[in-house]
């Protein structure tokens, strides 16, 4: 399954009933050097659009939003000691959390790569 995107600059990789979520390369670039990431607690239920993680760069703190409704199944423990993974591998080792997918219909509202790219170009 291809990676999907939100207009809040999260990426979502769907594998079965589990979605892996992180922030996009565009987002990490805009934020600059990441110094701290707070991931959500496992078992926490989230609604689509709810703020559920925090990413702090040298200059500012930003919320990360749940791209879907569901339940958090895992947080990326590696980010606790190495938040800079978000800069070096935003769409790989720098993932934030995994969640179960509560409502598959919501997947339809996510952007594909081309649409997200176009959305970002509109922001510059």
């Amino acid at each position: 399954m291809a990676i999907k995107y939100t207009e809040d600059h999260e990426w979502v990789l769907v594998e079965g009933n589990i979605a892996t979520v992180g922030i996009t390369d565009y987002a990490q670039n805009a934020l600059g050097d990441i110094v701290f990431v707070e991931t959500p607690d496992v078992g926490h239920s989230v609604d689509k659009g709810e703020d559920c993680a925090v990413v702090e760069s040298v200059k500012t703190a930003s919320d990360v939003f749940a791209p879907l409704t569901g339940e958090i199944t895992e947080g990326n423990a590696a980010l606790e000691d190495e938040p800079e993974l978000v800069n070096s591998s935003p769409e790989g080792d720098g993932w934030f959390f995994k969640m179960s997918i509560g409502d598959e219909a919501e997947l339809e509202n996510l952007l594909d790569e081309a649409a997200y790219k176009e959305f970002c170009e509109g922001l510059d």
Partner: protein, 366 residues
Amino acid sequence: MSDDLKTTPLHALHIELGGKMVPFAGYDMPVQYPLGVKKEHLHTREACGLFDVSHMGQALLKGDDVQDAIETLTPSDIKGLAQNGIRYSLLMNDEGGIRDDFMVTNRGDHLYLVVNAACKEADYAHIAANLPNHTLEILEDRALLALQGPKAAEVLNRFAPGVDQLIFMQMGEYDIAGIPCLVSRSGYTGEDGYEISVPNDKAEDLARKLLGEAEVEAIGLGARDSLRLEVGLCLYGSDLDTTTSPIEGSLNWAVGKRRRIDGGFPGHDVVMKHLAEGVSRKRVGIKPLGRAPARAHTEVADKDGNIIGEITSGGFGPSFEGPVAMGYVKTEFAKIGTEIDLIIRGKAVAAEIAKLPFVPQRYYKG
């Protein structure tokens, strides 16, 4: 860029260098360059950084007994300042609060002043109104560059032989690569370095020459802020304002010994009361014990959950390799090592009162 933002003589150069421009104190200024805030910060501590601080105000105060005159507005000992000596000083209000912090250089028959960008119009009006028998000459035709870091003296000496003879908080006139400049061995990063007042029409030329040296990188306001925070220096408007006294601000050293006795500055009674009786709140260093940075306006609580103060500057210290902050707490909690909590996103996060600076200051004192 918004139309009502002012620019410095280096504006085109900032754009050319890929500076990310943001509004700051009415100016369109580079917050960072492609290197990024963290690397810019570390480069300044390891080698040398060039900062455009032309948005700050430069002025000359002229007239008879000008040292006496400025002492009616500040608590510093300016009369005790040697020729070409520089002093960090405070413009005071009658309530003992701080209108601005600024640098005063004793140029013998006049004073050279550097004031904060956001306060400069108010400062000029205040000085002019209170010293009607003196002339305040605002140097609109001069830019200000800061060259900071352990390599600053070596680099600048290539262009201006002898400039390495200045010591911290001393000024001299030098031709730098043929450009007549006023050079101060001072800065606001905690490192050795210089502030260079240069004619506007030569500023870009000078900046390009300095940036042409292998040790020098252009550094933005983001790193300037983290550098000054790590070494415990106050940012006016965040850590100091019209409601804080120098004693609350832990700037007792900025109130001259002679001035404590003789007085003659606004708010002397409040400052003396604070010195004699102590203050109810004090500026302290605050070290968050986890990795989460605590930003300005974060509430500080005691271990029972009572709010005892607020962070006024906070962020991540790249050289300290962790979060750093300063702020005001009730004096009974100001002792170094006191355990406190910071309320970050609604949760109590452990922190402690820490000694300032977080990173040692490395000024050149001869």
